[in-house]
């Protein structure tokens, strides 16, 4: 079993797709991950399972990778009961989660925006450009800059989970560039495909960060680091306060324009 604990998860799932299903049952969403280089041992550690759940998970995976063979399971990494599932973020982490809410509110409007988008309409193209500006200035420059430059810098850059998050950011940027280029050549399909692609990546990315990455980081940051991150985030907020207000107001405006349309699209 030791061999599998040190194997990248994508490789394990590739050879044994059932492992992906088992992980899903324990709330571990590795299947759609775009990178998949995290080692099984690290995945189990990062998800903070109880010793009982960890044992059940490992025995079920062992039954898949070594069918019909007795396997010595590793000692659960955690001796004590896992903390309650209710997530209590530290203040800097809570601030990032609140920014995710704004990004999710924007993403929620994407189907409605695309449903009535007319690439020949100057007003629609201007609105789409504002959307791109929101993604680039708020989601990327403001929010992801805090993550990449300040939060992730507290951890070993070689960690697979961080590589996966960086990869999501990169893929998001590629899609946004795709929207810009499609807009320039007045290609509605290109705009739709790239904006939908961006929304899909970011939705999954935010789910991973809110549910798994941030709680794990909170468990590993020292009190000193939490305080320093809080101060550094406050400095970024102060520096970009006008931009932030502008972009949050944009999301509110989108919701006013598209809330009815969104209901139609959902129906």
């Amino acid at each position: 079993m030791e061999k599998y604990l040190r194997t990248p998860i994508k490789e394990i799932i590739g050879k044994n797709p059932q492992v992906g299903t088992i992980l899903e049952e324990f709330g571990i969403g590795c299947v759609p991950c775009s990178v998949g280089t995290c080692l099984l041992a690290d995945i189990v550690e990062i998800h903070n399972l109880s010793p009982e759940d960890e044992e059940t998970l490992m025995s079920r995976i062992a039954a898949v990778v070594y069918p019909g063979r007795p396997v010595v399971l590793p000692e659960p990494a955690r001796k004590r009961r896992a903390e309650p599932r209710k997530i209590a973020y530290s203040p800097p982490m809570k601030a990032l989660v609140e920014e995710h809410l704004w990004i999710r509110r924007f993403i929620a409007m994407v189907p409605a925006i695309l449903d009535r988008f007319d690439v020949l309409s100057e007003a629609d193209r201007a609105l789409m450009s504002e959307g791109v500006d929101f993604i680039r200035s708020y989601a990327d420059r403001f929010h992801h800059a805090k993550e990449e430059d300040l939060l992730f810098a507290c951890f070993d850059p070689g960690l697979d989970i961080l590589k996966a998050m960086h990869e999501d950011h990169k893929m998001g940027r590629v899609h946004v560039q795709g929207v810009v280029e499609a807009l320039a050549r007045k290609d509605p399909e290109g705009v739709a495909a790239n904006l939908t692609g961006y929304a899909g990546i970011l939705t999954e990315h935010i789910r991973k960060e809110d549910g798994i990455l941030y709680p794990w980081m909170d468990r590993n940051l020292s009190t000193r680091q939490v305080g320093e991150l809080f101060s550094k985030f406050a400095a970024v907020n102060e520096r970009l306060v006008d931009n932030r207000k502008k972009h949050e107001a944009f999301v509110v405006r989108l919701e006013e324009i598209f809330s009815e349309k969104l209901m139609e699209v959902k129906r």
């Binding site: 530290s90 203040p91 809570k94 009190t223 000193r224 939490v226 305080g227 320093e228």
Partner: protein, 154 residues
């Protein structure tokens, strides 16, 4: 060196790892005084520090207090039940946030209900403060076990 030794300001060591070994467990105390009425937000050991504000009983109940919570931090202690003139505490804690520009505050209280008052003071001072600081609290059981450890919702 003048004045009352009970309230004279002293910083013992800046080296976090060099605890003074007395008996078998090293002391992690880096300063004097520690009582909240006696400390000043202007004291050098509070500037930019991670501060523990502990109820008087905490360090007696928790055997690992020095190693697990005090190490690397500055300290103030108070009893929210018996201490007098607690309005001064409010201003002093606010002074820690605003003047000393502390990095974090960890409020450690016992599980008894009257101890909640100390956390209440820290939160009230935070609301009144122009500078925000991450505040967390640790609730300690009568046998020294940690019952709860959370960040305060600002």
């Amino acid at each position: 060196m003048s004045g009352c030794p009970g309230s004279r300001t002293m910083t013992f060591s800046k080296d976090e790892d060099a605890g003074a070994v007395v008996g078998t467990a090293p002391s992690r105390l880096r300063q004097w005084p520690i009582q909240l009425h006696l400390v000043s937000p202007q004291a050098p050991y509070f500037q930019g520090a991670d501060v523990v504000l502990a109820a008087d009983c905490v360090a007696f109940a928790m055997g690992s207090f020095h190693e697990d919570y005090l190490k690397g931090k500055s300290l103030a202690i108070a009893c929210p039940k018996l201490d007098s003139e607690q309005e001064a505490y409010l201003e002093k804690i606010r002074g820690l946030y605003e003047e000393a520009k502390i990095n974090t505050l960890t409020v450690m209280i016992m599980q008894v209900p009257c101890c909640r008052g100390l956390l209440g003071l820290a939160v009230e001072a935070l609301k009144a403060s122009s500078r925000k600081v991450p505040v967390r609290y640790v609730v300690v059981g009568l046998r020294g076990e940690v019952l709860q450890e959370e960040w305060v919702e600002a």
